[in-house]
């Protein structure tokens, strides 16, 4: 999967957790989940669980801590999918 493909899928994972649909439509790799998408920090764990199930991967605690913006989410997801850097 390309980074763009992962990003497109990731938007669907994030959708239920943000009320700001305009910000969601405009996401790019620099979009911060909490500051820009106004996602409740408690929901980050739900996003990780949903991503694990969507991509059939396991995200460990240390990797999860890195997932603060869209770019780092894509990094972790592609890494765990065994694709290395894409």
């Amino acid at each position: 999967m390309t980074r763009q493909e992962i990003l497109d899928e990731l938007k669907k994972v994030l959708a239920p957790y943000t009320a700001d649909k305009e910000a969601l439509a405009k996401v790019d790799e620099n979009t911060d989940l909490i500051k820009d998408l106004k996602i409740n920090s408690a929901n980050l764990v739900d996003i990780i669980i949903d991503a694990e199930s969507k991509y059939n991967i396991e995200i460990d605690y240390d990797s999860a801590d890195r997932m603060t913006n869209v770019g780092s989410c894509i990094d972790v997801i592609s890494e765990k999918m065994g694709q290395g850097q894409v």
Binding site: P16, Y17, T18, A19, N40, A42, N43, V45, D46, I49, S53
Partner: protein, 423 residues
């Protein structure tokens, strides 16, 4: 200086009506909300009927944010949100203010967190899948979940309390809210209670052999308070909420006023003198009613209507005896008495608040709702109070003062006195 407290908003989710207009129509016409539940037959329950609100879960999208709605599963919280937010807007308020409202608090009760939701926790944990539970379980499993969802939606900043006293919960929540305003601690209190009697809680009651079991094929006849054929109660689910308000505050903002809370009392028989975990001590009940009357500054003779606890068990006749003793009224001198449970069953913690909404609607619209399924009143009851006190069809009459009581497991009693508002 003590404040007068009035009711300015109502909301209800009941088995026979969701929303005040539907509920009012049902209680005026004796419409039952008791339905057959095929799952209970399959599970070999003795009682296979229940009071089930016809609740459209999707409509909650109009009440809470999309993010909050996503992942909300606990039905008791859904019922409570709907009832509370309806009461809030009924009182003329907006939902979703950006400011914290420091003058308004909430007391909302329930019996038990949703065990259907907890079932998911238990199976995940047992399957070594704890990591998949996510962030939304604790907030829905905690007893203060319903209160927290409501207070968060409305930005309530005064006292935020969750109470629990089994079947006395709802009346107790209203009483505590009344007391906070009366003593000047809050200008407004959103009060009420919710209950979702899920399969597991229902099963536990079924096993106690206290539920109706002879009318599974005629659900609408299954809840029969005060009748000779009363054979146990029918569990029900739902919620109701009231906005209580300092009279001066209500008048200043031009709020419509449904009724006044004159006073009330809550106590316990101490599980002594005939009282136990499951039965109220008569002396405790009598004292509770006497105190409620005294603290309300009325005479027992002024009570027009008793909205009883009256669940359709052996306890009904003892309850009527206790009312007779506490009010020193009997025979045809006894007030009208009705049991909403004949139509909706016993919704445990939610009973007191749903029945209080019914009591206030009877004051507002001038009627006494019928007792359905009372074609065969228990002679041990009609020996002490007149048949005329037990209406089986609607009575159109001025209702000035209603006494509303509930009695819960743990031998906890709670009694409220509502009155027509006269300035």
């Amino acid at each position: 200086m003590s404040k007068r407290v009035v009711v300015t908003g109502l909301g209800v989710v009941a088995p026979n009506g969701v929303g005040v207009p539907d509920f009012l129509n049902s209680i005026q016409n004796g419409v039952s909300g008791i339905r057959f539940v095929p799952l209970y037959e399959e599970l070999k329950f003795s009682c296979q009927v229940a009071g089930v609100p016809l609740f459209d879960w999707e409509e909650l999208r109009n009440y809470i944010s999309e993010v909050s709605f996503y992942g909300l599963k606990a039905r008791g919280i859904g019922y409570g949100l709907r009832a509370a937010l309806d009461a809030w807007t009924d009182a003329g308020n907006e939902i979703g203010s950006e400011q914290t409202d420091w003058d308004t608090g909430i007391i909302f009760g329930n019996s038990i967190a949703d065990t259907d939701a907890m079932k998911n926790v238990i199976s995940r944990v047992d399957n070594k899948e704890v990591k998949k539970l996510g962030s939304r379980v604790v907030e829905q499993a905690m007893n203060s979940g319903v209160t927290s969802y409501i207070s968060g939606r409305l930005g309530l900043g005064n006292k935020v309390v969750t109470n629990s006293a089994a079947c006395a919960t709802g009346t107790q929540a209203i009483l505590m809210g009344y007391e906070y305003i009366k003593h000047g601690y809050a200008k407004r209190m959103l009060v009420g209670s919710t209950e979702h009697v899920d399969t597991y809680v229902f099963g536990a009651f079924d096993s106690m052999r206290v539920l109706s079991r002879k009318f599974n094929d005629q659900p609408e006849r299954a809840s029969r308070p005060m009748s000779d054929t009363a054979g146990g109660f029918v569990p029900g689910s739902g919620s109701a909420a009231l906005v209580l308000e300092d009279l001066d505050f209500a008048l200043a903002r031009g709020a419509k006023i449904y009724a006044e809370v004159l006073g009330g009392s809550t106590n316990s028989g101490g599980q002594r003198g005939g009282g136990s975990m499951t039965a109220p001590a008569p002396e405790g009940v009598v004292r509770c009613i006497e105190d409620a009357v005294k603290l309300s500054g009325i005479e027992p003779s002024q009570i027009d209507l008793i909205s009883g606890h009256l669940t359709a068990t052996l306890a009904d006749k003892f309850e009527i005896q206790n009312w007779c003793k506490a009010l020193n009224r009997s025979g045809n001198e006894f007030p009208y008495v009705n049991s909403l449970k004949s139509m909706i069953g016993h919704s445990l913690s939610a009973a007191g608040s749903i029945e209080s909404v019914a009591a206030i609607l009877q004051i507002q619209h001038g009627f006494v709702h019928p007792n359905i399924n009372l074609e065969d009143p228990n002679p041990e009851i009609t020996n002490i109070i007149g048949n005329n006190c037990l209406p089986t069809t609607i009575v159109q009459t001025d209702v000035n003062i209603v006494a509303k009581a509930n009695f819960g497991f743990g031998d906890v009693n709670s009694c409220l006195i509502f009155s027509k508002f006269n300035n």
